[in-house]
């Protein structure tokens, strides 16, 4: 019964204490691998030649494209966690989507800022309200809304359930972002890496892009595991403070 063994392993990992143990073991390795990947990626990004049309400005793509991918991947991780909260009530699922929201907002901000900095010399404008740019901007606002919602509620369980519903409703925006360039006539170019028929990018530019994408993805997972660990500690601090307050109350009652 290998499926049962895998399920048991996953259930074991859903235990916060086991997760903390695993996090302390893997985080130094994840941070090290991320640093090495960024060193290789940045070297390849600046060692390569410019594009025949874009010139050296093609280098902006090596940070813009990975950040844009991560903005969507982070939301997809949050949606999977939201299902975990609503369906299985996994103890780590709400910790996961709460910890991921600020990371997603940051990567979306990088994608918007670097896209704008690429757009000015290439398109002649900082911003246009086309389908791709607008839908990514909506994603950024959704991240900010989810962060605010999580911070507005004292009860983490209730905040997690309300956030999960909102995350799943907002997930409709992810395919809109992905296919906006195919469904509507946009200034933003269509998909050139992940597309039917293979990548249209020359390998000179594809390798630095892929290495930087893996580096950014590793950075996200490293920060996500660290932020989840922080959130578990935060909840333990609140629980222990509540317990201390109860104990103090009982001592006072006995004294009276």
């Amino acid at each position: 019964m290998p499926q049962i063994a895998v399920l048991t392993k996953l259930t074991d990992l859903a235990n916060p204490t086991r997760f903390l143990g695993l996090a302390s073991r893997i985080l130094p390795w994840m941070a090290g691998i991320t640093a090495v990947l960024f060193a290789i990626g940045l070297y390849l990004s600046f060692a390569g030649e410019g594009d025949y049309q874009q010139g050296m400005t093609v280098r902006i793509m090596y940070v813009h494209v990975p950040a844009a991918w991560l903005s969507m991947m982070c939301y997809s991780v949050m949606a999977a966690s939201a299902i975990g909260t609503l369906v299985w009530r996994h103890p780590l699922a709400d910790v996961s989507h709460k910890a991921a929201a600020p990371l997603g907002a940051a990567f979306t901000l990088i994608a918007l800022a670097t896209g704008s900095l690429w757009g000015k010399p290439m398109w002649g404008t900082w911003w246009v309200w086309d389908a791709r740019l607008t839908s990514v901007f909506v994603l950024f606002l959704m991240y900010l809304g989810l962060i605010a919602l999580n911070r507005a509620m004292d009860d983490p369980g209730k905040a997690a359930r309300v956030s999960s519903v909102l995350i799943l409703v907002g997930f409709v925006n992810i395919p809109i972002i992905k296919f906006s360039v195919d469904w509507w006539n946009t200034l933003h170019q269509p998909a050139s890496v992940i597309r039917m028929g293979g990548s249209t990018i020359d390998s000179t530019f594809l390798w630095p892009l892929l290495i930087m994408a893996i580096a950014f993805t590793m950075l996200f997972f490293t920060l996500h595991v660290a932020a989840m660990r922080n959130e578990i500690w935060r909840r333990r601090v609140s629980a222990q403070r509540r317990m201390a307050a109860r104990m103090a109350g009982q001592t006072l009652e006995k004294g009276v």
């Binding site: 900095l117 000015k120 660290a226 922080n230 104990m247």
Partner: protein, 57 residues
Amino acid sequence: MTHGFYIAMSYGIAALISLCLIVWVWLDGHARKRELAELEASGIRRRSAPKSEGEKA
């Protein structure tokens, strides 16, 4: 403005936001760890926390 300016600004902004994120997560973890240590030192522990040698006896 030259293309070099847009490239430098892009990498600068991406580095700044990433570094802010890393420092924020690190400082948050450091603060939570300190709070937990202070609570443990004052004798407030989780019920499920492993017992110390003195408590076992």
